[in-house]
């Protein structure tokens, strides 16, 4: 039943996800989720001059998790880190033309994965990690 509530956009990104794969020597990596709950998302970033020049992902999870990973990595490519930090789960879900309510957590995972990867990069550079907004 849930399956059938997926938009065409979700199905498109699920069936032919963009940016799949591991990245050699990434500038930032973030892994979020919990295999017990059925989803893990790993986001890799290539960063040059504070701009995300490439993003990749590896995801264990349902259709929405895979589609969210694909869409989120698409959305942040070419963005500055500041801009990428502002890509919310809502933005991911909207770009996917909506997610079923019980699947919204997949878009949250994507947002968290991006944040974690950006902070991984910041820490490697010797910066303070940015804080999650409390209403995230």
């Amino acid at each position: 039943m849930i399956l059938m509530m997926y938009s065409e956009k979700v199905m498109e990104h699920f069936m032919n996800p963009h940016n799949v794969g591991e990245m050699e020597n990434p500038d930032g990596v973030g892994e979020v989720g919990n295999p017990q709950c059925g989803d893990i998302m790993r986001i890799y970033l290539r960063i040059e001059n504070d701009v995300i020049t490439d993003a990749k992902f590896m995801t264990f999870g349902c259709g929405a998790a895979i589609a969210s990973s694909s869409m989120a990595t698409d959305l942040i490519k070419g963005k500055t880190l500041e801009e990428a930090w502002e890509v919310t789960n809502k933005a991911v879900a909207e770009a996917l033309e909506g997610l079923p309510p019980v699947k919204m957590h997949c878009s949250v995972l994507a947002e968290e994965g991006i944040h974690k990867a950006i902070n991984d990069y910041r820490e490697k550079q010797g910066f303070e990690p940015l804080k999650e907004k409390t209403d995230a």
Binding site: V20, M58, C62
Partner: protein, 397 residues
Amino acid sequence: MNTNKDDTGNIIYLDHAATTFTDPKVLETMMPYFTENFGNPSSPYDMANVSKEAVDSARQQVATAINADTDEIYFTGGGTESDNWAIKGIAFANRKKGNHIITSSIEHHAVLHTCQWLEKQGFEVTYLPVDKYGQVRTEDVKKAIRDDTILISVMLANNEIGTIQPIPQIGRIAREKNIYFHTDAVQGIGQVPVDVEALNVDLLSLSSHKFYGPKGVGALYIKKGTRLDNHSHGGAQEKKKRAGTENVPGIVGMGAAIEQATSQLEEHAAHMKKLRAQLVEGLLLIPATHLAGHPEKRLPNNVNVIFEYIEGESILLMLNSYSIAASTGSACTSASLEPSHVLIACGFPHEVAHGSLRLTLGKENTEEDVDYLLQTLEPIIRRLRAMSPMTPKEQRE
């Protein structure tokens, strides 16, 4: 057969444990009871008598199929109602004798949630563990019995992994101790012989749409002399035990379906076992794949495999795009994110249980269907594993 296809093309339907199509021959028997012989079986005139006789003859068909007496069969609105009735009916009627119930941890939710509700009403419930194949140990049953135990409920065959329980043995224990024994036989009918005498049961649940009968109708076998309260109170239907105007066409269909299912049982089971062997053999060629449930003591039409490193819903989504209908024990499809309680009870770790795929065969399936599934599935598993951070490097290609 054209019944496993939908408008969009040729669907390979491999989810017969979820529901079956209504057999066209069964549907034919139902048709006269909608518009022509539509009388209320309780009504006092000839026209309605046709309905009454139809219900009686369906009752006879169900009774014959499970080796019961006709007046031990009560029609209900489905397997869930039968389970609810059996358990709550015994609980409320025998409360003075005791308030302890024993069941297993791998029952269908129709049993588990009913037991949980009874716990809120002050009953105590023991949920027995199972071994890695999903079997209840009769030793555990014996140990769980207390002086105030009034009911044991253990399913005949599990709906997810197909494991068949030692019902005759548990029944013998229950009978020795004078405890009522219920079995949910919803998945067993038409797949394995079901004989209430051989099984030593007092109550047995059936659901028509699992054996090519219509949805929304089931039955409860109640051994003569069993004390239980009603679940639906009201009119005097079903010898005052189950109120509500009888679903005459549904009941007629259920009767025809169970007669057909039991008369074809052996050849059907043989057909299922052959396809199952083909299926299991092909599936286990895929690395890091495990068969869940018992290797032999399982329903002839059930296959449940677990693919490590990936999640079930995504498998189903891809199969769906190749017109294959199947099921998973992963509840990433639900808000709870809990994988199947059955697979967890069998000892599979959560992250592994999420990778389950249930394929349940039906009479219209062919070797070609199985070949198509295997050909389609293998690359799907490969693709999903290639995306998964859990997949070990050496298994990524």
